[in-house]
Amino acid sequence: MTKPMRLAVAMSLLAFGSARAADTVKIGLMAPMTGSWASEGQEMKRNVELLAAEQNARGGLLGKQIEVVLEDDGGDPRTAALAAQRLTTRGVVAVIGTYGSAVTEATQNILDEAGVIQVANGSTAVRLTEKGLKHFFRTCPRDDEQGRVGAATLEKLKAKKVALLHDSSAYSKGLADEIAAILKKRNIPIAFFDALTPKEQDYSAILTRLKAAGPDVVFFTGYYPEAGLLLKQKKQMGWKVPFIGGDAINNPDLVKIAGKDAAAGFQFLSPPVPKDLDTPEAKAYVASYQKKYGEAPSSIYGVLAGDGFRVVAKAIEATKSTDADKLRAYLVGQLKDFPGFTGKIAFNDKGDRVGELYRVYAVDAAGNFVLQK
């Protein structure tokens, strides 16, 4: 091929590409479709695709159909950075996702610089919204709120000596620090503050040491695989002190790993699980989800991704634009009391969701997660 010809081919390809892009409104979905959080990613995909299909049946957005562009972040920051770059080259107007805080953090600047609105659904680390990024939002709450609710729960249990155990990850250590700071202010003594190594299987040495510290209650801020093992091995030791956990433990696999006997009585903080969403919109949505997939949504983070999709759609409809700055102005300034599935949604100027979202759940004898009033 000669040089001018090559140029002509490239130009026509480019023209073809942009002509296609104009046919649809593209909304990106970045989710962990593989890796250890793959089950969360699958749920995110189901929620967003269902809502996009429903919106398309109502006529789409701005007279165009919505196209959901899915990228797998693998639950890994490096993969996620590449996924975010691919999304920016495919002409998406907004990106929904993703789940883990460290993973989201790797994508924030890439999307912000490209002028793409990002609405994360499971990333609760405080610092994500403290960077002054104009285009970043999240439908999930923050860990400082979780810390406040956690400390309040400990007070409610009339704990006199608390043990805090984390796993050194950004989320887990951050949450443990938040709780420790509040407990110190209230003069509740912390008998133990240390980290375990995730992905090990024998935590008996740690449990023995915890037991020797003599706490009334242990707060573990890590993830469900370790929490399950801790509960199981605690029961094997015949140790009865109650355990509490954070929102990364909200996964039905916890009961599978620990066994029903060992999991019973365990409490954790979480945004309400799908079956406890009580607004009429949420009930109708859970019913249509059930109809399409044959089972109710199991993860709240999937539903939060759905809420992220809906606020983006709402903003595009209201501003009649896909310009990121106009969308931001609308989301921060004008979106008030939007009826989300997970409660009313509004954002403050950091991009954080306004309002309290955390609830306390307990595992009952049959292994179900029961909302505590």
Binding site: S36, S39, D194, L196, K199, T208, K256
Partner: protein, 300 residues
Amino acid sequence: MEQFFQQVTNGLAVGSIYALIALGYTMVYGVLRLINFAHGDLFTYGAYLGMTLLTSFLLHDHLGLALALVVLAVMVMGLVAVIGVILERAAYRPLRESPRLSAVVSALGASIFLQNALMLVYGARYQVYPDVLPQTTVSFLGQQMPVMRLAVVLVSVTIMAALYLFVQKTKVGTAIRAAAIDQGAARLMGIDVNKVVTIVFVIGPALGGGAGLLVGLYYGQISFTMGWIYGMKAFTAAILGGIGNIPGAMVGGLLLGVVEALGAAYLSIAWKDAFAFLVLILILIVRPSGLLGERVAEKV
């Protein structure tokens, strides 16, 4: 003092698993001077095969628990041994005469292959063993202790003792020791070295697979990446005891487990692993060939 005893038994339970895996490293190194980096993954295969056999045949419903576990152990160890032999044929034997580095790279590649193959078959999520073991506790030296923890230690120690006797007292064991000392001389004495290598790749992976089964049964939760952390610890244990030395692997494994548990008890939990490796460094400074390793003159 109560905590001390409790932590020592905690450490012995983990340590006996490390020791079982370390035997595989040490035997292969003894004969081939090769670190079999895929050994940790063979351990994981043992855990996954055990889960599959247990859940698909429901052995414990038909045979009674004790017999079912024996049958299961034999099947798992046999299957992992087959994988071990294939691994040796495919990844190590073609490189026997190549520089040592090529074999190490091949071992790392085999490890990545085995791990990802497992993920593609079973998926990336954590897998859980069915609850078949009794959860009873017994009083032992004034401690409440799960029966199964004692069982894990007893099973491991019995297997290790049997292996030691096999290597010291039988003709095949003598051949293994001869090949470990000098392959050339062993060949001149009429020993089929290839056969010895195959036997080593039956025994090592079988022990590793057995350890995987024990871990699955005892801890309940397995993942396709679990072999990495156990492999690292077991490798450390093998070096600690003196790599190539069978009693050394046993002593190294148990010692590493106890040191970790005591480190977690009296120093920081978060620094537990660092402490274990510090002990390794200290011992290697004093005894470069490991605790029981003999000082062998370099072959020229």
